[in-house]
């Protein structure tokens, strides 16, 4: 290809751009040729150096796209305050890396406050929104990923967020919403004094803290964040975490389902009709529990529970089980595979116990008298509580 042919191609391919841009690039190339020739290079060599015109055009296209995006900005994020007149049926909040703070509103209105501590670099990459659809109010802070240019910029944004703290979406809500839902990726959520019919939440790595919440249904799900719940009044409570810890204190519900894969579960001072608690590899620690029907499962963690129960089941594979049942228990089953079992009955008038420790030893003490037993069924006192306890390779101790 000759220089003339190359320049002609260039001119054609630049046609679709503005005249000023076209002229500038053409001039850059003309200069490049002139300088190359001065160095004694042949036109062919210079053409090879300048390279594929298409490649250069792609570069221009990208710069164009970036400009277009900046031009059509849906609204720059900045700290701001918005208030909405009640009533809404539902409020849905969504944030990526931003935190959410929920509080009860004193004046019956929904108010939304955006707090963005970041610099301009971050702010122009955040989009915040609030919109109504029917009687649902949506609000959130999201990162505009399209506007984040390349790895270097991602690194910069993350570092800055780390330094300055997350942006925060603060929302005040009146009582009586039918539904409140939130979701974040890494943002933490903190809710205080919220009262709604249905409370739904999920986060990926963000923590959830909830204080004094009342709802018919509360459902929370986190992947790696921790959950801390205090002062919960609900009909149904369902809490799930993959690898985070769950802590619950002062809760009253009809049904409770609490589960984690690898996190620990700690519950203190809680009342439920039915409660199901399970973890795969975490420990379970229950104190001051009152439940008609309590079920606790752990695969490789330990279970320690002090609970007033009518009916209770504890199962562990590798971990130990330490259950202290207070109140007039009616039916208790405790099963371990490799772990030890310690069962204390306080408040039952007697028990009819079916025990089996296949490879370990089994002891039962009743009214201060302890004896070693082999597998079988034994009755003490009025025999009112049916106990079924077994471990494969652990030891077994029952006392009452």
């Amino acid at each position: 290809m000759t220089k003339a042919e190359y320049m002609e191609q260039l001119q054609k391919k630049l046609d679709r751009f503005g005249r000023e841009l076209k002229e500038e690039i053409m001039e850059d190339y003309r200069q490049h040729f002139a300088e190359g020739q001065k160095q004694g290079k042949s036109d062919e060599e210079i053409i090879r150096e300048l390279g594929n015109i298409e490649e250069m055009i792609r570069e221009l296209d990208e710069a164009d796209k970036e400009n277009a995006r900046e031009g059509n900005d849906p609204g720059q994020a900045e700290s701001g305050f918005h208030q909405y007149a009640w009533p809404y049926r539902a409020v849905e909040l969504e944030c990526d890396a931003a935190d959410i703070e929920l509080e009860r509103s004193a004046d019956g209105q929904v108010s939304i406050w955006y707090e963005i501590p970041g610099s301009d670099t971050i702010n122009r990459r955040l989009v915040f929104y609030q919109r109504e659809e029917g009687d649902v109010l949506y609000a959130g802070i999201k990162e505009n990923k399209q506007k984040t240019k390349g790895i270097l910029e991602s690194i910069r944004i993350n570092k800055e967020w780390f330094r300055l703290g997350n942006p925060v979406l603060k929302v005040k809500l009146p009582e009586g919403l039918e539904r409140l839902s939130f979701s974040t990726s890494s943002g933490d959520v903190c809710a205080q004094g919220i009262s709604v019919d249905t409370f739904l939440g999920n986060t990926a790595s963000g923590d959830v803290t909830m204080k004094e919440a009342s709802a018919k249904q509360i459902q929370l799900k986190v992947a790696s964040g921790d959950l801390e719940l205090t002062g919960i009044r609900a009909v149904g409570l369902k809490v799930n975490s993959a690898s985070g810890h769950i802590e619950i204190e002062d809760a009253k519900t009809e049904t409770a389902q609490v589960s984690t894969a690898s996190g620990d579960i700690e519950i203190e001072d809680a009342k439920a009709q039915t409660a199901q608690i399970s973890t795969a590899s975490g420990d379970v620690d229950l104190k001051g529990i009152s439940a008609d029907d309590l079920s606790v499962e752990s695969a490789s963690g330990d279970i320690a529970a002090c609970a007033e129960v009518k009916k209770c089941h504890c199962g562990a594979v590798r971990g130990d089980i330490d259950l202290k049942a207070t109140g007039p228990a009616e039916q208790i089953s405790v099963n371990a595979v490799r772990g030890d079992i310690y069962l204390t009955l306080e408040g039952a008038g007697g028990m009819k116990a079916e025990v089996a420790a296949h490879y370990g030893t089994a002891h039962i003490s009743w009214a201060g008298e302890c004896k070693k037993v082999s597998a079988g069924t034994y009755t003490f006192g009025d025999g009112s509580c049916r106990v079924e306890a077994s471990t494969r390779s652990g030891n077994l101790e029952i006392s009452g």
């Binding site: 841009l21 850059d28 190359g36 250069m56 690194i155």
Partner: protein, 102 residues
């Protein structure tokens, strides 16, 4: 290679070259082409963009032979930006190097 990444790196190369003094287009592209196999032509849109973002300014200098040379000069804003990006780059490369070693 990820084009975004490459572009970020090229931007940094161009800006860094200009911290040592003003340069004209050909000078810049030659220096980069010495060490990298890229199409020199792609550097012109990058230079144009840096100018639009006020990281560089340009001025013409008549030369004895041929057309006037367009020189690029780093602005204060560009200098600051270069320092920031360079710091990030260094940290990033350090991290990658450490991870490569195991």
């Amino acid at each position: 290679m990820n084009t975004q990444f490459k572009k970020g790196a090229l931007e940094l190369c161009v800006l860094s070259q200009l911290t040592h003094g003003d340069k004209y287009g050909y000078e810049l592209t030659e220096r980069i082409l010495d060490l990298m196999s890229i199409a020199s032509g792609t550097l012109y849109p990058i230079l144009r963009k840096l100018k639009e973002e006020d990281y560089v300014t340009t001025y013409l200098v008549e030369s004895e032979s041929g057309p006037a040379r367009k020189y690029y000069r780093l602005t204060d804003k560009g200098r600051q930006y270069q320092a920031e990006v360079r710091k990030e780059w260094d940290e990033f490369v350090d991290a990658v190097n450490q991870l490569i070693k195991g």
